[in-house]
Amino acid sequence: MTTLGVGPADAASPVEPGERRRTTPARGTRTGSLPPLRGLLPLVVFLASWQLVASRLSPFFPPPSDWASALLDLSRSGVLLPAAFATVITFLLGLVAASVLGTVLGLAVGASARTDRALQPTLEYARAMPPAAVVPIATLLLGFTGTMKVVVVTSAAIWSILLNTRSGVRQLNPVMFEMARSLQLGRFERVRKVTFPALLPSIFLGVRVAAPVALVITLLVEILTQVDGVGALIAQSQRNYEFAQGYGLILVAGLFALLVNALVSMLQARVMRHRPPA
């Protein structure tokens, strides 16, 4: 464990469970980490029986077909698309800001043991803070704005990137820098041609953990503050007792999460392609 790793372990551990899964194949799983599709059967049966008995149950649990029609109504009235767009934008801006800031801070604390020691308690404390608690403060200072949303998302998504960059810097091979020196590269050149490429896998490992976090926090801010986005729509359907709409929107949130996961895996395949396995 890293010294900074007192907070939630998701962001801390540079080695992910998923990573381990790939390197040590479990007995009998030839298809890798994906479970067989027939495992979807219970869910299908569950939803189908929900559909069949729902109308007699209660207004709390409308049948899945109602979810779909509620979603269709939402998109016809031109509410769904802008909301989805707002959520995606907040997510992307937050993730990019977290990547840039996390890399810079990670470089700073990774390169100097003294900076690391000096900032450690402060960072540790900030990291342990549940993002939900930050939201009221952020609205207090920044108002109910898009900026506020991005700031909250960034503050939650930054940690895994920072920590992975930090441990990446620690593991850099000093020979690389000697080579850079003998090639008489300037400071900027050195960072661009030597440090950054060497760190890219570490940074990306952090981004991979940060992306789902960023999405969840985007939804969280939207639910709590009702400033634009899919989360705000979910909160509104609660206020208006629109159950079917609520369930439909939860599906949309789940769809976003699946998309983010798929994108991250795809990106990872590209980023890691050029590296031999460590």
Binding site: V6, G7, P8, A9, D10, S13, P17, T24, A26, G28, T29, P35, P36, R38, G39, L40, L41, P42, L43, F46, F60, R114, R117, A118, Q120, P121, T122, E124, Y125, A126, A128, M129, P130, P131, A132, A133, V134, V135, P136, L140, L141, V216, L219, L220, I223, L224, I234, A235, S237, Q238, Y241, G246, L249, I250, L251, A253, G254, A257, L258, N261
Partner: protein
């Protein structure tokens, strides 16, 4: 060496100094008026307010509520997660015929369920507890399955050689071997439990730290808001530290990790 110097050696003086320096800068900027954010209180004002809240017992009541619900929800989630995880991890047909469903359900962010849970369960502790259990059971479940499934095959041979019963194999070999993975899940679950507790209190449940934070916001008392936010942060740190300490005690005494001499 005296104990005072030992403590001093262990504490990160530089780090604490930086923290104090940042707080001092914050205080100074507000006093001078350079930092002119509307509603941003000075640290001294926050500390004073926290003192009052402590003295009146308000802070403690809210803190204890949040702590109790978080721990209760986490324990329930852990029992469910480990139990279900063992079934899915050890019994192949169960895994084959349901894991994809679990993976799909897991993709739905628990946060998005908060408003619906409010509608179904109302503004109550039940909402809070349900959300905590649902959200923090996932990492425990996934890590238990992972841990059990990646147990080294040699261990099964050991079990066969020693003529261990199924029960003994589970208790003496599989579970200990899966423990590191399960512990990671438990730790993730714990921090998620606190997050969900605070969220549920923010949006609905009429008690706890999150609720106090919202009340302070509605009453336009920034000092009180910061006091509660800092408390929540401290609670997060304390929970994590306690968890790690307990893990360190129980796991290292049971089986010393190979290759690590401490």
């Amino acid at each position: 060496m005296t104990s005072a110097t030992a403590v001093l050696r262990r504490t990160n003086v530089l780090g604490v100094a930086t923290m104090l320096l940042l707080l001092g800068a914050w205080e100074l900027l507000i006093r001078v008026g350079l930092l002119d954010f509307q509603n941003l209180p000075a640290p001294s004002a926050v500390a004073a307010r926290a003192q009052q809240l402590l003295a009146s017992g308000e802070l403690m009541t809210n803190l204890l509520h949040t702590l109790r619900v978080t721990l209760l929800g986490w324990v329930l989630a852990s029992v469910i997660g480990i139990g279900l995880g063992l079934v899915l991890g050890l019994w192949r047909p169960a895994w084959r015929w349901s894991m994809a469903s679990f993976e799909l359900l897991r993709a739905v962010p628990p946060i998005s369920l908060v408003p619906l849970a409010l509608l179904v369960f109302g503004f109550s502790v039940r909402t809070e507890l349900t959300l905590i259990v649902y959200a923090s059971a996932w990492p425990v479940l996934v890590n238990t399955i992972e841990g059990v499934r990646t147990v080294r095959p040699e261990l099964r041979d050991v079990a066969r050689t020693l003529h261990l019963s199924r029960r003994e194999t589970l208790l003496k070999l599989t579970l200990p071997a899966a423990m590191p993975s399960i512990v990671v899940g438990l730790q993730l679950g714990l921090s998620l439990a606190l997050v969900l507790a605070v969220v549920a209190e923010l949006v609905g449940n009429p008690s706890g730290l999150g609720n106090a934070l919202i009340l302070a916001q509605l009453a336009l008392r920034p000092e009180e808001m910061f006091a509660y936010v800092f408390t929540i942060g401290l609670l997060g740190i304390a929970l994590n530290a306690a968890f790690r300490q307990i893990v360190a005690w129980t796991l290292t005494s049971a089986k010393p990790l190979p290759g690590k001499v401490s």
